[in-house]
């Protein structure tokens, strides 16, 4: 560690660097050079996100989302692609059943202790962790919705099924998010989200005899939305910025 200017000699230069003009602060010059050399050039996605979010910090936080990293996105695409092939061959709406589960897992793994290595440090930052969570959750939801819609359309499913899973997906994502934030664990979020979705699918099948009933039944739309709103409220409460008693 260095201590500012105490390494410079009477010429204002660093030891061993030879004399320099007295009015040149070589430390300051070096810092300027180092800043230029070490400067990270944000990619186009980060620049776009920075403009949309009006915050370079939030954009950087978005691009470090674990469930938006390339490996995760490729894995999601592979799962949905396989689902689309199975749907084409067997007629089972596998894409529509998988999409909410995948999105729920992605949301649970978007942010939190154990998932974000610098979680403790992030909580002391001016850009609040709730804002980071919100932006990451919306981005994960949006990406999964696009991937799901593409896979669903490719599988040749009926329109009711193609779009039917968007509302249940919202509810599963909200459930996974609420469970992850209350339980302070991404794994808890995934477990609760997937279990909730499985119970819903099996219950609807038991009642109607169809696997796709949880997706296509219009009577479930309002309950799904109310449930999603309740879970979102729980997640907001669980991530409220601690006000303390001061």
């Amino acid at each position: 560690m260095t201590s500012g200017h105490d390494m410079t000699d009477e010429y204002g230069s660093r030891p061993g660097h030879g004399p320099g003009p007295q009015d040149v602060d070589l430390d300051r010059v070096w810092t300027g050079v180092a800043a230029e050399v070490w400067l990270r050039r944000p990619g186009p996605v980060e620049r776009l996100a920075g403009r949309l979010l009006r915050s370079p910090g939030l954009a950087r936080a978005l691009l470090t989302t674990p469930s938006l990293l390339l490996g995760w996105v490729i894995a999601s695409a592979v799962v949905l692609g396989t689902g689309a092939l199975v749907t084409l061959r067997t007629g089972t709406p596998l894409v529509a059943l998988l999409a909410p589960a995948l999105a729920g897992a992605g949301i649970a793994y978007a942010y939190g202790p154990g998932i974000d290595p610098a979680w403790e440090l992030s909580q002391s930052m001016a850009i609040g962790d709730r804002m980071v969570l919100l932006v990451r959750a919306l981005a994960v939801f949006g990406l999964n919705a696009i991937l799901g819609l593409v896979a669903s359309a490719a599988s040749g499913a009926a329109a009711a099924v193609t779009f039917g899973w968007l509302v249940p997906m919202t509810a599963v994502c909200a459930l996974a998010l609420a469970a992850a934030t209350v339980g302070r664990s991404a794994n808890v979020g995934v477990l609760v989200g997937l279990t909730g979705w499985l119970i819903t699918v099996l219950s609807a099948r038991t009642v109607t005899g169809q696997f796709s009933a949880a997706l296509t039944s219009t009577t479930l739309t309002v309950p799904y939305l109310i449930f999603a709103a309740c879970c979102a409220a729980i997640a907001l409460y669980a991530t409220r910025i601690p006000g303390g008693t001061s």
């Binding site: 260095t2 201590s3 810092t31 470090t64 610098a118 403790e120 440090l121 002391s124 006000g243 001061s246």
Partner: protein, 247 residues
């Protein structure tokens, strides 16, 4: 005063980690000493606005951290090194420090120069483009210090900052502490009394969630004169004050 704490308490279930702490600190270096479980980390986490107090009042940098706007302002002027620094293994040193400079809401134009200055300050210039996963524990600690000072904080909170640093690095770190202490409030939690003796203008000793001593290092040394166990004068003061508090 940059730090004003009054009757500050933090409970975890039935355990009272911090029990009615009163503390005021202005510019300078304050050493926070105490045995394991004394409540030092909980107190630092509350001052870092990471952990809400269970009761009591707290003002940081002249603001109330209980409401959103002032808390954001406090965090802009805050530097914090947690006991366990989590890091992104794939980030380089410069990327890591830059990430937190951005999250501290620094003006983007100022970030590259501030990052370079902070990295140079902790002597990591030759490792600036190295991935964090390739660094030793001591180097990671220095990177953690760099992210803490990148915004030239008015309040710098460091939890065990010298853990993993070699003697030469610790000497340089103490110089850095003294330098920051001239213009900011620096609170350092440590087990190493020699760090306190060398760098701190004030020392606070905690035990069982309470402050049992607050004064200058000289006063702590004086408290150990003639009694106490330890090799160094400050250690004798430390043990004497703890023994008195527990009797």
């Amino acid at each position: 005063m940059n730090v004003e704490l009054s009757e500050l308490t933090r409970r975890f279930g039935r355990t009272e980690a911090v029990a009615g702490v009163d503390l005021e600190a202005g510019p300078g270096v304050l050493g926070l000493l105490g045995p394991n479980g004394a409540g030092k980390t909980s107190l630092l986490r509350m001052m870092a606005t990471v952990l809400p107090p269970s009761s009591g009042t707290m003002r940081l940098l002249g603001r109330d951290p209980g409401s959103f706007g002032p808390r954001r302002e406090i965090r802009r002027g805050l530097g914090y090194l947690p006991q366990n620094l989590g890091y992104y293994p794939g980030f380089t040193v410069a990327e890591f420090v830059e990430y937190f400079a951005l999250l501290k809401d620094m003006p983007p134009r100022q970030v590259p120069r501030a990052v370079a200055a902070a990295i140079e300050h902790v002597g990591m210039g030759d490792k600036a483009r190295k991935k964090l996963r390739t660094l030793s524990g001591g180097m990671l600690r220095r990177v953690g210090i760099a992210q803490a000072i990148v915004n030239e904080p008015e309040l710098l909170l460091l939890d065990e900052p010298t853990a993993g640093l070699d003697p030469e690095q610790r000497v340089a770190f103490r110089t850095l502490l003294r330098e920051f202490g001239q213009r900011a409030t620096v609170i350092v939690s440590t087990h190493l009394v020699e760090d306190v003796a060398a760098a701190c203008s004030e020392v606070t000793l905690m035990d069982a969630g309470k402050i049992v001593f607050h004064g200058t290092p000289g006063e702590l040394i004086a408290a150990g004169t003639g009694h106490g166990v330890g090799d160094a004068p400050l250690e004798r003061g430390y043990t004497a004050v703890l023994a008195a508090a527990r009797s």
